[in-house]
């Protein structure tokens, strides 16, 4: 059985994610796959993503991966990265598309007009570079990572969560936005742990060892009730 499936829906470079996971889990079987069955059967699932969310969803559907990703998000340790976080939301301003509706919230664009800080410097879009991730909750994936550690971001859209309880971290640019979401067996981040050096590798190391169901059995049941599997 595949230990970790990295979902490939044809939107760019998954090699970085794969290499970083191999680095923290050298003995695990890690595959980059576009096969829905492999995703359904994997022990853990990672959904990375870059590019435009409407294209990502279209490519996901083209490969018949939508229901497998939903299934994984309901049933196994699940890590979403960048668009892999955004697509979990209800909807996105980018192309006015509906997301998977697993996380309550909307994906919005950073205002591209010249927002300036007190010294007159402008906030460029995309938000690109190393910014601080302020932990909003305690979580096994934050183990050994100090709050306000810097991670690498590159994005023009951000998640506005309607349910603050799911916010696992916030980041300022120039206002505070949700940079990580935690819900049951799902952890999803706007930044790129695979490109965030030691802090990122620590988070991935925590993910490959995370056992969300050992202490959350009751929640799994309710998650299934909330999001019945669609085939």
């Amino acid at each position: 059985m595949t230990d970790i499936a990295i979902v490939d829906y044809g939107m760019g470079n998954l090699r970085s994610v794969s290499k970083a996971l191999e680095h923290v889990a050298p003995t695990a079987s890690i595959v980059i796959t576009d096969d829905p069955e492999v995703v359904r059967k994997a022990g853990r699932v990672v959904v990375p993503g870059q590019g435009a969310m409407p294209d990502c969803l279209r490519e996901l559907d083209k490969r018949g991966l939508r229901s497998a990703v939903r299934y994984a998000a309901m049933s196994k340790p699940f890590l979403g990265i960048c668009i892999g976080l955004q697509m979990l939301c209800d909807s996105s301003e980018e192309g006015n598309v509906e997301g998977l509706g697993i996380v309550t919230g909307t994906v919005r664009r950073f205002p591209s007009t010249s927002v300036a800080d007190s010294s007159g410097l402008r906030f460029k879009v995309p938000h690109m570079g190393w910014n601080q991730v302020h932990q909003a909750i305690e979580h096994p994936l934050w183990k050994d990572i100090p709050s306000d550690a810097r991670f690498y971001f590159v994005h023009s859209y951000y998640v506005e969560t309607a349910n603050p309880e799911s916010t696992a971290a916030t980041t300022n640019y120039p206002f505070s936005f949700t940079s990580a979401v935690a819900k049951d067996n799902i952890f999803a981040v706007q930044f790129h742990p695979e490109k965030s050096h030691d802090a990122g590798l620590t988070l991935l190391n925590n993910f490959v060892r995370w056992e969300p169901f050992q202490f959350q059995e009751g929640i799994v049941k309710s998650t299934r009730d909330l999001f019945p599997i669609q085939t």
Partner: protein
């Protein structure tokens, strides 16, 4: 506190080795790209940029192997440029492990390439490099490693690139490159203030104060340097310490 300004060491690579030239000529060997990348990553480099300056197309695949090897060991963003002419070239570099691809001459010859690559892979991974030289009323864009004038104004070209979908601009002053006299601050500021996308200042860094000037006076979002790091004049950590002392937010 918020987004940190970035320090990006640049590795000019030819025939599998890192080299450094002065004013685009006179190359000196500076070492093995994988070894240097690992060292910079450990020192706290925020990203790495590789420019493949291999002249003949025979050795083009060498850069792919180098990037594959670096990407398996150094977990920070990698940008690769040099000889990118087609969307297929972008795809091959991204698949090898590059996070961003830098386009220079081909963007001038075929602006559609920038739009097509950004549409296909997203603006976040498309960097356009501009080689600029001071002329009477501004700065002119040059191509082919600085050998060919285009008659185009740098600031106007930068704005055009943003509208085509470039996610970042790597701006090199040809007048300053290799001189170690500091960035062309007026150029950097003119471009950075004219666009919404991040601008990386390049060309001319000779000491740590030049990095501070690039950010504070040039309004750059990131600073790129090669020789001050390659020859061990300063470490990345020293550079960041100096910038932090001067009130610049950096990742330490």
């Amino acid at each position: 506190m918020g987004l940190a300004k970035r320090i990006i060491p640049c590795l000019d690579v030819t025939n599998g080795r890192v080299v450094k030239g002065i004013n685009f000529v006179g190359l000196r060997d500076a070492g093995d790209p994988v070894e240097i990348s690992r060292r910079y990553g450990d020192q706290g480099a925020d990203e790495l940029t590789f420019l493949d300056i291999t002249a003949s197309s025979d050795n083009r695949d060498l850069i792919l192997r180098i990037i594959e090897e670096v990407a398996a060991q150094v977990f920070i963003p990698l940008t690769v440029g040099g000889g990118v002419r087609k969307v297929e070239d972008v795809r091959r570099l991204l698949n090898a492990g590059a996070d961003k691809v830098s386009i220079n001459t081909s963007a001038v010859q075929n602006p559609r390439l920038v739009a097509d690559a950004a549409d296909r892979y997203g603006s976040q991974c498309i960097v356009v490099a501009i080689d600029a030289k001071r002329v009477e009323n501004g700065w002119e864009v040059f191509t082919h490693g600085g050998r060919q004038a285009t008659g185009m104004d740098t600031v106007e070209w930068a704005k055009k690139l943003q509208s085509l979908g470039a996610g970042e601009i790597l701006l090199t002053s040809m007048d300053k490159d290799g001189t170690r006299n500091g960035f062309d601050l007026a150029l950097t500021r003119a471009v950075s203030d004219a666009v919404d996308v991040p601008v990386i200042a390049s060309g001319g860094v000779g000491n740590l104060h030049h990095l501070v000037e690039g950010i504070v006076e040039g309004h750059a979002d990131a600073v790129l340097a090669a020789s001050i790091f390659h020859y061990g004049d300063y470490s990345i950590l020293q550079a960041k310490g100096y910038m932090a002392e001067h009130g610049i937010e950096v990742r330490l």
